[in-house]
């Protein structure tokens, strides 16, 4: 499709400081941490677009301080009048706005409630009366307000709306609800095939990042498990009392330090003139400093480090509940050391293993800070692309589509873990 969003996306490595920024593009310190797309901006701007289209009051919140926000780099991304070509897959002819979707969701919820009520043995208002009688009026109101508020406005609607939003064009606020506000698959198409009429068959640039993120997350999870399992076993079965508490304290201490600082520590170590390179060159192992940051060695080490606790605690809890006599019995009957672990300890610790691995995988795949700080200049993490669509790219629907793909893969991963390890969601989330 000839959407301007696609115009420059092919070049991740290209630094694009767009000439037509709507807000003064003076060096803006506030924006530095966020817009720090450095050498790999995916600023999908169309240089030729007129600046008048870019004033987007809703998307670029101007703060009272008058400081230009991060988002204003919306140059040209906002759909130009000619930018909704007829060939984009159009699902609906008339505009379906946020309000319609919102009302539809509420209506479906009400209908479901009604159906439930007719089919249920105990009618809904009987149940409500019982609930109120049990808790008293004030407490009932408190319970209902907070839980429904949480579930509807914080969990369900934002996710549903993000899903809806990912099927929309990137429009100006005044166009929303207008004739151009129609559903489209172009955001998902873009992830798969790139911009229409592009040179490549598939959008390898982004697909590669996606698969690399997933595979790297799996590798980090496995490394983490191998690293943590022996210690968890040691803590759960081999030490008791003061020694155990000291180990716990030592484990917890580093994790009081901010995640960003922990990642930064690895940057120091693996930097070009950092400790590792100095040592290796000094010892004569390397002739010249090796680019550990560029090769993502620092990133993987840092990511493994970041989520150690989330692996070790579920493992510890699961192994701790194993009766030590079982290990003794297996040993007495001549089981080898390896067999004891594979046949006795690990099957018992299955929920813990599932929980630890799932948490670590999710957090690694969803990590943004560590890749931002430790990632090499030429490599991206999938979350970084989402952030760039949101931030420098200024294309929120595109970002929503990418975010939804990430969410979907995470759900699939959790389902696989639940199936393979035969555990419930509660076992996984319990930490």
């Amino acid at each position: 499709m000839s959407d301007p969003t696609g115009s420059s996306i092919g070049m991740l490595a290209q630094v694009q400081i767009t000439p037509s920024l709507p807000t003064p593009s003076k060096p803006e310190p506030q924006a530095a941490p966020a817009t720090s797309t450095g050498g790999f901006s995916i600023n999908p701007s169309l240089p030729g677009s007129t600046p008048t289209q870019q004033v987007n009051p809703t998307r670029t919140p101007q703060l009272p301080g008058g400081s230009p926000s991060i988002t204003p780099s919306l140059p040209g991304t906002t759909t130009a009048p000619t930018a909704t070509p007829p060939e984009t897959p159009v699902v609906e002819e008339s505009g379906i706005g946020f309000s319609e979707v919102f009302i539809a969701i509420i209506a479906v919820a009400l209908i479901m409630l009604f159906v439930r009520r007719r089919s249920g043995r105990l009618s809904a208002d009987m149940r409500l009366t019982k609930f109120v009688r049990r808790n008293g009026v004030a407490i009932s109101i408190y319970l209902l307000t907070f839980t429904t508020g949480w579930i509807i406005f914080m969990i369900a609607l934002p996710q549903l709306y993000m899903f809806d939003f990912s099927f929309r064009h990137n429009l100006l606020p005044m166009e929303i609800g207008g004739p151009k506000d129609v559903y489209t698959l172009k955001n998902y198409n873009y992830l798969l095939f790139g911009r229409e009429g592009g040179d490549e068959l598939l959008n390898w640039l982004h697909l590669e990042v996606f698969f690399k993120t997933i595979i790297a997350s799996v590798i980090v999870t496995v490394l983490n498990f191998l690293l943590c399992y022996p210690l968890a076993f040691f803590m759960a079965q081999m030490v008791k009392g003061r020694g155990q508490r000291l180990l716990f304290l030592c484990l917890l201490l580093p994790f009081w330090v901010n995640e960003i600082l922990r990642a930064f520590a690895f940057k120091l170590i693996f930097a070009e003139l950092g400790l590792v390179n100095t040592l290796l060159v000094g010892l004569g192992i390397l002739d010249q400093p090796y680019d550990f940051l560029g090769a993502n060695v620092a990133l993987y080490t840092g990511l493994t480090y970041a989520y150690i606790l989330l692996m070790i605690f579920p493992l510890y809890n699961a192994i701790e509940s194993l009766d030590h006599n079982q290990i003794e019995a297996a040993r007495d009957m001549g089981a080898s050391w390896l067999k004891i672990h594979l046949r006795v300890v690990m099957p018992h610790a299955k929920p813990g293993i599932a929980s630890g691995c799932t948490m670590v995988f999710m957090l690694t795949a969803g990590a943004l800070a560590a890749p931002n700080i430790l990632g090499g200049p030429s490599s991206l993490w999938f979350t970084q692309i989402i952030y760039q669509w949101y931030n420098t790219g200024g294309n929120w629907p595109q970002g929503a589509a990418y975010a939804f793909v990430l969410l979907l893969s995470c759900i699939i991963f959790v389902r696989i873990m639940m199936r393979v390890f035969k555990v419930s969601l509660g076992d996984i989330a319990q930490r």
Partner: protein, 296 residues
């Protein structure tokens, strides 16, 4: 050497390496805060200095980010702890048929990546505000968005803390109080809340700390403003100044102090418990002895 001894040595070596991996990077970073080199590193060592600590105190953006972080942390505590409490109590009361569904929904934010919570919160409130006709600044205020976005999943964390505690709650206490004529509100405040006190305290700490160090969600919801963590990330990314190492030293120093206080307190508590257990055991022995004596 027997194979057992070898295994013990391997284990020791492994634990040593593990903790080297855990503490090594932090120690190196701390050391770099005192190096005169203008780039944060310990090699080459150019001499001792505390200059970077002065520079840290003069970094206005870090200071204002810190203030923002504190306000957001307090807001998150105020929103997520009551939400989590309500969510946990509801879980105990919903019917068995609904419970698995309810649990899946409220626990799902724990597993959803923070990036997704961030972007969906921003997108939703932008539209929702205009739908119900609120001022743009109300629903798109970075502080509002950040507090709501973070509370989405922090409430779920805290709820898990409450559930763990509520599972040990003796329902008969509640019934006894109601039988004795207490109102529901009284039962809530005089029985349930005191019972949950430790869980409330730990979830307040958990909520504040999680909020304080969150990056993934905050970086979306703070729009153009920054918290300490997002400001730090900007500095760490370009990493050209050792004052960030100096900040790490400050944080680690505070951590160490808190950890030591916590440990001492815990030890003292344990000593008290042990003493009372011993006393009870001794008393029981005396009682049985007396009873035996009486019987004789």
């Amino acid at each position: 050497m027997t194979s057992n001894q070898i295994r013990a040595w391997v284990m020791r070596g492994y634990i040593a390496l593990f903790f080297l991996y855990l503490f090594g990077p932090l120690l190196i970073m701390s050391a770099s805060a005192f190096n005169q080199s203008s780039y944060p590193t310990i090699t080459p060592w150019e001499g001792f200095t505390v200059e970077w600590f002065h520079e840290l105190a003069q970094n206005d953006r870090l200071v204002s980010g810190f203030v923002n972080s504190v306000w957001i942390g307090l807001g998150v505590v105020a929103l997520s702890v009551p939400t989590a409490l309500a969510g946990a109590i509801m879980l105990m009361q919903v019917s068995d048929r609904v419970r698995p569904w309810y649990y899946t929904i409220v626990v799902s934010p724990v597993l959803v990546p923070g990036v997704i919570i961030g972007i969906s919160t921003v997108i939703f409130w932008e539209r929702f505000g205009s739908l119900v006709g609120l001022e743009y600044e109300t629903t798109n205020n970075p502080f509002f968005l950040t507090i709501v976005g973070q509370s989405t999943f922090i409430s779920a964390y805290c709820m898990l803390v409450f559930i763990a505690r509520l599972q040990r709650f003796d329902k008969t206490q509640e019934e006894a109080a109601l039988d004795l004529g207490a109102t529901h509100t009284q039962v809530f405040w005089k029985i349930l809340i005191p019972f949950l006190r430790p869980a409330i305290l730990s979830s307040i700490v958990l909520a504040f700390l999680t909020s304080f160090e969150n990056y993934n969600t905050t970086v979306f919801t703070m729009v153009a403003r920054g918290t300490l963590t997002t400001e730090l990330a900007g500095l760490a990314r370009f990493g050209v100044n050792p004052s960030i190492s100096a900040l790490a030293v400050v944080i680690m120093g505070l951590t160490l102090i808190f950890a030591v206080i916590y440990e001492i307190k815990k030890r003292r508590e344990e000593a008290v418990v042990e003493a009372s257990v011993k006393r009870a055991a001794m008393k029981r022995r005396q009682d049985t002895a007396a009873a035996a004596h009486g019987a004789a």
